[in-house]
Homo-oligomer: 181 residues x 3
Amino acid sequence: MTASLTLVIGGARSGKSRHAEALACGTGLDRIYLATATAWDDEMRARIAAHRDARAADGWRTIEEPLALAAVLEREAGPGRTVLVDCLTLWLTNVMLGGAPDRAAEAVEPACRDLVAALPRLAGAVVLVSNEVGWGIVPDNRLARDFRDAQGRLNQRVAEVCDRVVLVTAGLPLSLKDVSR
Amino acid sequence: MTASLTLVIGGARSGKSRHAEALACGTGLDRIYLATATAWDDEMRARIAAHRDARAADGWRTIEEPLALAAVLEREAGPGRTVLVDCLTLWLTNVMLGGAPDRAAEAVEPACRDLVAALPRLAGAVVLVSNEVGWGIVPDNRLARDFRDAQGRLNQRVAEVCDRVVLVTAGLPLSLKDVSR
Amino acid sequence: MTASLTLVIGGARSGKSRHAEALACGTGLDRIYLATATAWDDEMRARIAAHRDARAADGWRTIEEPLALAAVLEREAGPGRTVLVDCLTLWLTNVMLGGAPDRAAEAVEPACRDLVAALPRLAGAVVLVSNEVGWGIVPDNRLARDFRDAQGRLNQRVAEVCDRVVLVTAGLPLSLKDVSR
């Protein structure tokens, strides 16, 4: 069993998580769902619960990790396993909001560097879900602009080390890269 | 003449309406333009008028229906006809704003379910235009987030029952699905 | 050497500028970098500087022109040369902000018309970078909506006269049009 890295990107409610789950199920391997969401209010809690209901908990082992993504991936990924990371956008949010408010952007680079360095070392299959957030008007506030920049850069760097990149729109996949090993 | 369902999606000012009109004209059938826009201020009124000017009223029969989309489609669609629905985004806006402000989201599910159930029963050609609205930063206010979620889910569900789905960017079409009957 | 016009579009931090630079380098011609950015605050100044660092100033001649884009292109483009315009979005911003605040939109049409008319007359290779900004929720304020409309229309018109249009997502190109002369 060779290793494989897949990035599934798309807008909000594009069906990217569902597509990523289908890819993970298609591997036929043991499945781990690595959830990066943290519930900081009721709306978020409801969203997380809905996601869980939607993924039909048949056969998935769920691990919740809001911050130490690279470390958990290095521990859990391996031959005979598929790890689905849902999603990089919530993880990046946690990283930015975890630091001091006036230097949210500074916390991002080391975390992203560690993640991007870890990915090519992983065994087994890993599927990462991430949002496209830079296709609108420039946001009014600085934090939103910083987040948009950080998310765009992260998607580029992760896409570069992945074997496959899929863009999902209205539930439909479009292959942007496929150099399966 | 077999039935066909086509979804044309894209961002604002992407040329998606013009592309949908070209598809409708290409069928060579009688053309009905089903406009879902309602003018609630001068800016909106100007937009509607501009759309009308742009579509060159040669041969189109126009029907305006802001809410009862499934019913009008079931009445008007038929063999030898093309119905162009422009657009699902304004229709969804009307559905959300038509209900009580604190439960805008609740009005959406029954309306979307009815529409998605009606589409596969239609005869003739139907072309639906809809916006992609989930590729930016998370909006500040709850209503915008609810709308974004509802629009994304609706696009997925409509795409699932359509034979063809086309994404338009800068006026240029990209086929996401084509299982022409 | 025949003329060629290429439009590279994408969201913020999509890698579109880097892709455009690679296309320009690939022509093997003398390279001119036509920068449309103007620094109106420190954040912007930092962005411009970062762009410059990122493009490795080996062999590029840089020209800064915030407004008179068509005139500079007609003067600088020519056989044996590649001109990279980075980017139409900042240029359009300058055009809109250069006029009276209450008629920003009015300044746009003549400027866009001049640019779109000039492009097919240019010799050599020209690569234009532009943002997709219409894939989010409708912006709250009028100026942002006007800008979104103007940018979408400009991208359509430029795409129409270009030989090649490339959409970049997460650093990965997707060809939307290729009718190389």
